[in-house]
Every structure is written in C-alpha cells, then in structure tokens.
C-alpha cells in the first residue's frame, strides 16, 4: 500500500483544482453568453418568447443540477451522441448557469426606471439604440454584484460533475480518500480548497455591492 503524505494529498488536490476552475469558467462564460442572448430575446421579442424563456428558466431552476448532469450525460448518449464527461458537464452547467443569469439580469433591466426608456424613445432612438446606449449600461452596473455573487454558486455546483466521472476537486478528493483511508483529512482539505476559491469571490461581490450602494444613495 502506498503511503499518502499530507503533501501528496494537497498536491493532487491542487492539480484537480485546475479542472474545477476550468469547469467554472466554462460554465460562467458559456452561461453568460447563452444568458445574454436569452435576455436580449426576452426583452426584444413578444410575449410568446417571454413565456418560452420563462419556461426554460423554470425548468432549469426547478430541477436539481445533479439530475441535469445525469440527463446531459446519459440522455445524449441515448440519442446516439457519444459525449465525454467534459462535454456533458460543460453543457449542463452552461444551461444551468444561463437560466439563473438571465433571471438576475432581467431583474436588473427591469430595475432601470421606465422614464429612461421613455426619454430615449422620445429622442427618436431605435429600440436597439435605447437598449444599448441607455438601458444596458445602467442595468450592467446593477448586475455586477449579484452576478459575481452567483459565480460562487457555480463554483460549488461544479462539485456535482463528479457524479458523471468528471475528475475535478470533489472527485479527486473521493479517489484519494478511498486510497489513503484518511477521508476526514482529505475532505477537509477539499473544503479548504473550495473555500479558498469561493471566499475571495464572495468578498469581491460584497465589495462591489457596497460600492453600488454608495453610488446610488
């Protein structure tokens, strides 16, 4: 039997941490792009699109991420598409993230006073110009803090990708725990790694929020 030193544990977890970070970034960038697209569709198009996107949001917010991961992994292969754990995890996390972001951002757009739309409209700006030059810059300022706050949820959400065999921090922790027979020590270290990742992001969100309030009051 191989003896695991604390250094071995930390080194292996740190290596696996890279994939947690990578998966978080993919989820956040992909989710941001899809969410942004859905937001524009939601604002720009009619009631039908709104309902459709509302259903999309309800679906992804109303089911566990774990199940979404299973569905992406096993569902796609059932359809004849062979997907790797990478693809399935990226896909599920992107869709999950986009569903939350579109809701957060919609709230921010709605928080921009109606008078701003009216002023832009009465200056003969087109809908796209109103959105781009008047509404979105103001909504973006409101959105920074809650968006960064949600990033923490995404980072922790990547832990669930371990169930489809994606070797990130949690999965690596499980494997090392099994091999080393030191589950408490290993998972304690895993928790510390997550904390080291999430805590600065939380702090940043709080800082941004304070800055926001300072500006508006």
């Amino acid at each position: 039997m191989i003896e695991f030193t604390l250094w071995d544990i930390l080194r292996n977890l740190a290596l696996a941490l890279r994939w947690t970070v990578a998966l978080s970034l993919i989820a956040f960038i992909g989710g941001g792009l899809v969410g942004g697209l859905l937001l524009c569709l939601r604002i720009g198009l009619g009631r039908k699109t709104q309902r459709l996107i509302g259903a999309y949001v309800a679906l992804f917010q109303g089911s566990p991420l774990l199940i979404q991961l299973f569905l992406a992994y096993f569902g796609l292969s059932l359809l004849g598409v062979e997907v790797s754990a990478w693809t399935a995890a990226s896909l599920a996390l992107t869709l999950y993230t986009s569903a939350y972001l579109v809701e957060i951002w919609r709230g921010c757009v709605e928080a921009v006073p109606k008078g701003q739309w009216e002023a832009a409209r009465s200056l003969a700006m087109s809908f796209g110009e109103q959105l781009r030059h008047v509404i979105l810059p103001q909504a973006a300022r409101l959105a920074i803090a809650p968006t960064v706050g949600f990033l923490v949820q995404v980072i922790k959400g990547t832990a669930l990708a371990s169930v489809i065999g994606f070797v990130e921090l949690t999965k690596a922790g499980g494997m090392i725990a099994n091999a080393s027979f030191k589950p408490f020590l290993v998972f304690g270290c895993v928790a510390l790694f997550y904390f080291a990742l999430c805590f600065p992001v939380s702090l940043a969100a709080q800082h941004l929020e304070r800055k926001q309030h300072g500006r508006t009051t």
Binding site: P113, G115, E118, A119, L123, A124, M125, S126, R141
Partner: protein, 273 residues
C-alpha cells in the same frame, strides 16, 4: 368617432414620394399638430373621450385640469408614448402610425419631450446626455454634436456643466439639461409634462425662464402645468381638461378671467384655497 378617411390616399402617396425622415417644410396656415376625435382607454376605462385640437406653428398651449383629467395622457399620445385606439393625430402633416418604427422615429424627431422627473441618463455626462441622440439618430459627428451641445447648454445657462454628471446638478439644472437634450434633436414641437412639479419652489423660476425664452423664439409648445401664473403670462391658448374632454379652451384672459363652465370655476377656485 373615427376620422373619416378623407385624405388617407393622398397621404399614402405623400408617404411614398417623400422620405420619411425629410424635414417638414413650414406651411403657413397648416396646423403643426392636428388631433381629430382622439380616444384612448386603459382597458375599459376611457381616459380621452374624443379630443379635437389644432395647434398652429409657434403657438404656446397650456393644458390645465385636475389630475386624472387626461392632460398628461393627451400629451404623451402626441409623441407616441401612449397608443390611442381611435381618431387620428398628425404632426407636420404626417399621420402618427404606431406600427411603423420608421414613421415613429421620424415623428419623434419632430416632437421633443421634457418630463416631470427629468429622466437624464445617469451614466452619461451632461454633455453626452445632449449629444447621444443626435449622434445616433441624426448621424452627427462627435465634434459637431459636442459643439451643438455646448451651444445648447450655454443657452440654458449651463455652459460650464458639460463634463458634470447629472447627479451633481440641482433639480433645476437637471431639468435645463433635459431641455437642451430635447432641443438637440431640433424638434418642431416641444411637449412639457409638468416639468416643474418635481422641483423645489426656488428652482422653478430658472426652468420657466428657459421655457419662456423658447416661447419667445417661436417654438411650438404644449405644456401640462400647474403654474397658472406662467400659463397666464406665456400661453396663447389655455385648455381646461375635464374627464377626458377639452372642457374649455381660449386665450388665458378668457379662461382665467371669465370661465364659462362651473367645472372650470370650481377648478380655479380650488387652486386659490
């Protein structure tokens, strides 16, 4: 009820021949705003019950009346912020067509609006507030728009505020920026929706002086106002609205001096209390 389609065909032809964005040529004797049998309701609640009104170029019209009488709604119909269900509205002899984005864009270049709550864009500097629409809609170069913005800000007495942010200004200053911003689109008609109602009393004067100077320069103005002294002094005609109708209309001396209807007498009396 509905306007008869007397000259609908003529106007369709007009529409085809003239580019929509062409500046309206001043035609003497033709009203700049022509409102015919205009009706507007929110659900089952009819707020405008058949409004007929011709506004001549250069005319200053004050709309007075109790809150809920439909005066703001009427104003907001003129630049399409509110849709009406029946009747017709023409600005510079072009019909207002809600469904045509092109037509609405052309119309809104003719009709400027100033709001009770200023509605300056808080993320842009004062200068940028004024420049934004001309650069986007009129495709003006940044330099031309900046020159124009400086000139307009000087006109409203805020030349030195070009680089200030809106939240650094007093309410009266913000409203004057809003006036400059509306003027930057070189509108034919300016709509003022209770533009001094959100101001502290000591700031009302500076805004009204700017509006008065616009009136003297021949700008067509329609304003919803509670400043009766100002209406008396500046308006060519005063409209008293009551329950969604033009209840009484006439020169200020007549409307304020010799009100014909008991509703107007009652309204004027309530102001003195």
């Amino acid at each position: 009820m509905a306007a008869p389609p007397d000259d609908a065909v003529d106007h369709m032809i007009d529409h085809v021949i003239e580019p929509v964005a062409a500046p309206a040529l001043p035609v003497p004797g033709v009203p700049i705003v022509r409102i015919t049998a205009l009706r507007k309701s929110y659900g089952t609640n009819e707020v405008l019950k058949g409004i007929d009104l011709d506004v001549m170029r250069g005319e200053v019209i004050a709309l007075i009346g109790k809150s809920g009488s439909g005066k703001s709604t009427l104003l907001r119909c003129i630049n399409g912020l509110e849709q009406f269900q029946d009747g017709s509205l023409r600005v510079a002899d072009k019909p207002l067509l809600h469904d045509s984005a092109m037509a609405m864009r052309a119309l809104r270049q003719q009709v400027g609006m100033i709001f009770q709550s200023f509605n300056l864009f808080p993320h842009l500097s004062v200068g940028r507030n004024v420049m934004l629409a001309p650069t986007l809609v009129k495709k003006r170069s940044d330099r031309d728009a900046a020159d124009q913005a400086r000139a307009l800000l000087a006109r409203v007495g805020l030349a030195e505020k070009f680089d200030a942010m809106p939240d650094q200004l007093s309410g009266g200053q913000q409203q004057r920026v809003a006036i400059a911003r509306a003027l930057a689109m070189e509108p034919q008609v300016l709509l003022c929706d209770e533009i001094t109602s959100a101001l502290d009393p000591e700031l009302v004067g500076e805004v009204l002086r700017v509006v008065e100077s616009l009136a003297e320069e021949g700008m067509t103005l329609l304003m919803v106002t509670h400043e009766m002294n100002f209406a008396r002094k500046v308006a060519d005609r005063v409209i008293f609205m009551h329950q969604g109708r033009v209840h009484e209309i006439g020169p200020p001396a007549e409307v304020f001096g010799a009100p014909k209807t008991p509703e107007l007498r009652q309204f004027l009396k309530s102001l003195d209390d």
